[in-house]
């Protein structure tokens, strides 16, 4: 979309921190590596990208899916040999967790609690056992399993998709456009799990998983991980790497509310405006979006909820190559996203952040780099679109 050159002002305390390192593990099937080992490899990768080492880290963030005692950062901090931590956080919000972590790291740095924050994520759902982030048993039965009838996560996304189709006339072919765009982007990514370009026909002719969602409407299941390093402006000035600004962020939750629930929108309707307001930009100013893509319907609803189009118009919005880089109106997930590239540990928040950093630094894969990419939006959807969810939105900017 059109950029807003010259109109950006200096923002809030969030501008005290910048992203300085990012690294995505190249592996998609890692049977011989331990989960902790993948955390370590991505930690070293992101720190090396920044020109830093583990000895520089004083803030550490990971999810409850990290291996070890109690769920959270303790065991991984020990494994990584982090001896001088002054700030640690394992906010748990499903696949969106890493986006919360980047935002919380920026807030901690702005508050002077740490100056070099490391965020890691790793998972092995493809070749190993994927620990959940669930914690102890829930206090009450969930409404969707209380009379267990074979409903699982994918079915609730399918229920959301059918309701969206019913209310707004959205079609399977329109949802397929989202996968088509992702697959085109993945074809430029040598590490992508699925590299074949798909057509709308390929998507709608793929086997049904939970009607109306086909296999190609679903994200990939991959091993892997990624890490991001957030530092203070002062630390960034001492390094040679191009910083990425954290201009604004918003969080929100939409829970089952005892059954008062509407699946046709997500909590992005609240997290988005909070992030845009803090950043002082609008959807029209955004050049690139990393949108959580557990399923095609997830992307469609989030695009509407963030205000890139009106509610119900997502189906028409994604047609005609809107999402295709580099020249679509709103290129998305140029690494191929969770739909085609990588969804390590069923948690796409880290790869969403990493690809936005690549775009803003001009380091995306050849063929998908957006010319003059100045403002990127990263949005994570944690939990389940069809029942309870949490949202985190970040607006990132190219450093002047």
């Amino acid at each position: 979309m059109s950029s807003r050159k010259g109109r950006m002002r200096m923002f809030n305390a969030n501008d005290a921190a910048v992203i300085i390192g990012a690294y995505e593990h190249p592996g998609r099937e890692l049977p011989d590596k331990s989960l902790a080992q993948i955390h370590a490899e991505v930690a070293i990768g992101a720190l090396a990208d920044a020109g830093l080492t583990l000895d520089d880290v004083d803030g550490y963030f990971c999810g409850h899916d990290a291996p070890g005692y109690g769920g959270g950062w303790v065991t991984m901090a020990e494994y990584l040999g982090l001896r001088d931590l002054t700030y640690m956080d394992s906010t748990e919000s499903g696949g969106a967790s890493p986006i919360y972590h980047v935002s919380h790291a920026a807030a901690a740095i702005a508050a002077g609690k740490c100056s070099v924050a490391l965020i890691t994520l790793a998972g092995k759902p493809r070749t190993g056992i994927q620990p959940g982030g669930g914690g102890p048993a829930r206090p009450e039965d969930d409404f969707e399993t209380a009379i267990f009838t074979g409903a699982g996560l994918v079915s609730t996304y399918a229920l959301a998709a059918r309701r969206h189709m019913y209310e707004f006339g959205t079609t399977s072919e329109q949802l397929a456009e989202i996968k088509v765009a992702a697959s085109k982007h993945a074809s430029h990514n040598p590490n992508a799990f699925l590299q074949k370009v798909m057509t709308v026909e390929d998507v709608v002719n793929s086997p049904m998983v939970a009607d109306p969602l086909h296999r190609a409407d679903c994200c990939v299941v991959t091993d892997g991980g990624g890490a991001v390093v957030v530092v203070s402006r002062e630390v960034a000035r001492s390094l040679d790497r191009q910083p990425v600004r954290i201009m604004g962020q918003g969080e929100s939750a939409k829970l089952t509310n005892g059954g008062k629930l509407d699946l046709t929108y997500t909590s992005a309707v609240w997290s988005g405006p909070r992030a845009f307001e803090q950043a002082g930009v609008t959807p029209q100013d955004v050049d690139y979006v990393s949108i959580y893509d557990s399923f095609t319907i997830t992307v469609l609803e989030i695009l509407e909820d963030l205000g890139f189009c009106a509610k119900g118009e997502g189906g028409r919005f994604v047609m005609d190559g809107t999402l295709v880089a580099p020249h679509g109106r709103l290129p998305f997930n140029t690494d191929g996203g969770g739909l085609s590239n990588n969804h390590p540990g069923h948690r796409g928040g880290i790869t969403k952040t990493i690809e936005a950093v690549r775009q803003l630094r001009g380091e995306a894969n050849q063929g998908v780099q957006i010319p003059d990419c100045e403002i990127a939006l990263v949005h994570g959807n944690g939990g389940d679109l069809g029942t309870r969810m949490r949202s985190a939105t970040m607006i990132l900017g190219r450093d002047a």
């Binding site: 009838t149 994918v154 079915s155 959301a160 998983v209 939970a210 005892g258 059954g259 008062k260 699946l263």
Partner: protein, 153 residues
């Protein structure tokens, strides 16, 4: 159906939820109603999700609702349901307010299918349905939903 695998997926019957399961066995949908704010809730819980009040009564609900959405599961995600695919799930908004996910009674009812019942038809969203009670393998009676004429209405 793998009855042992299915049994593991069902909630245990406890003193708290026993009125619900007794209702199912008796062919009635019973819901808790908050004594303070009047909110009906499902599933059972010790406190009201609206006002956190701990006092509630068990009431016999109408069993009526509408299809908020539905889908057909093709993937074998649960061992217990591996030989059931494809099966349809309905997401029902009960007249009293709560949401329930269950199956369509006609889909597990051979006679309805044989006589050209709903199982061969497309479902409509916002279509009225009502709860019916069928024993599942292993003997637990669960509420399912039917698009047919409600008995006794």
């Amino acid at each position: 159906m793998d009855v042992a695998a299915y049994a593991k997926l069902l909630p245990d019957i406890t003193p708290r939820n026993k009125p619900f399961w007794d209702g199912c066995a008796a062919g009635e949908l019973r819901l808790q109603k908050c004594a303070d704010c009047g909110r009906y809730r499902f599933p059972d819980a010790p406190v009201c999700p609206e006002c956190l009040s701990s006092s509630a009564s068990w009431e016999t609900a109408s069993g009526a609702g509408t299809i908020w959405s539905w889908c057909t599961m093709h993937q074998k995600y649960f061992a217990a349901f591996a030989d059931e695919v494809p099966y349809r799930l309905v997401y029902v908004r009960l007249a009293e307010g709560p949401l329930v996910i269950s199956v369509l009674a006609e889909d597990s009812d051979d006679s309805a299918a044989d006589s050209g019942g709903t199982s061969s038809k497309e479902l409509r969203l916002d279509q009225p349905v009502h709860a019916v009670f069928r024993p599942r393998p292993g003997g637990r009676v669960i509420p399912q939903f039917s698009t047919g004429a409600a008995a006794g209405m």
